[in-house]
Symmetry: C2
Subunit: 206 residues, 2 copies
């Protein structure tokens, strides 16, 4: 018989809407999780305050040009191999504050994964600006939500606080980049290329 | 018939003796390259001057503590899964200048891969200091070389210049970290976890 295990395997997917590698992870995480029967919790947060805390005023890909040039080429190769469209956002990075707050509204909550993929595609495949209300309102409407209601809700103190708390939790976990994957026993895996390792760890930890 | 292709696939393996992920790559690159019949050129260089050029006086793993803590845990997991021993060097990082110069002597050249693996194992498996002449002399002796002769040669102007030229070439290629893998057509892959992608690219480019 053995001991019954009531915990189903779970991975928290920490992502940032302005993060290139978060885009790639968002587009493939659900299929890989389904194969392994691992539950994914979608947790958008803001990298800006974390970068600021270590003295960076913009993306490290802008601060370190050689690394940035590499990243854009790497993204071209990876998106081609993954079969997703990719174009470099202009400007980069864009503020992900509005998208992050929207993701944490009660109305978007049941659709958070789908909302997030649509924001990522608008940003990294279609060249739209994710700090543009019209772009976000279109996405909300495509989910069958009332854009005006949800936009207003995203500006409430409750939702602002929620996103702030998520970012503080990311700092408490010592996350320093996105995407990061965190298992129920607290193992952290950083980067799109560690997604499979995180899912496999979640299966083994039970 | 098709056109004869006289180029055999090749990947330049750029590594730094003080780099943790270079250690993991060095221990697995030859087996993976052999499977694919890709030739590997071992090219040790110094990251220090590259870090300095972007304002870093030490390893980014020391400058950014959250990233550093993650890296040490990541190394524990990866080395266990790869089946190689690992312990955190003390201090970290250590100067790789002596080891780098030795690797570029004429005497070590025919054994550069083996010499490099031995330096990495001394450093990351056995907890030895790679800035210690005695440690390096032992490695030279284990290769059947005369330690005194090779140590003297490593301090010649010719060898110093060679290592400096390699590091300048790494900068010219815009390498910013180690390990990096560069294919004959100039594609750069950064990080131990991109080793397979680099080898596969080298096969396709012919």
């Amino acid at each position: 018989m053995g001991m019954a295990n009531t915990m189903s395997p779970r991975v928290d997917f920490w992502y940032e809407f302005a993060s290139t590698y978060s885009y790639l992870a968002a587009m493939r995480i659900e299929a890989l999780a389904r194969e392994r029967a691992v539950a994914i919790v979608w947790r958008p947060f803001l990298l800006g305050p974390i970068f600021k805390a270590q003295g960076w005023e913009t993306s490290p890909f802008n601060l370190f040009p050689a690394k940035g040039a590499y990243m854009w080429r790497d993204l071209e190769r990876l998106s081609a191999s993954q079969g997703v469209a990719f174009r470099k956002p202009d400007p980069f990075p864009q503020s992900s504050l509005k998208a992050g707050r929207l993701a944490w509204t009660d109305q978007v909550a049941p659709y958070r994964a789908e909302f997030s993929r649509k924001v990522f595609l608008a940003h990294f495949a279609d060249g739209r600006r994710i700090d543009d209300d019209a772009v976000l309102e279109n996405i909300l409407a495509s989910l069958g939500l009332d854009p005006a209601t949800v936009m207003a809700q995203s500006r409430s103190e409750q939702v602002k606080l929620r996103l702030r708390q998520e970012t503080e939790e990311a700092m408490r976990l010592s996350l320093f980049g996105a995407p990061s994957f965190v298992t129920a026993d607290g193992e952290i895996f950083w980067g799109n290329d560690r997604l499979e390792a995180a899912l496999n760890w979640a299966l083994q930890e039970r």
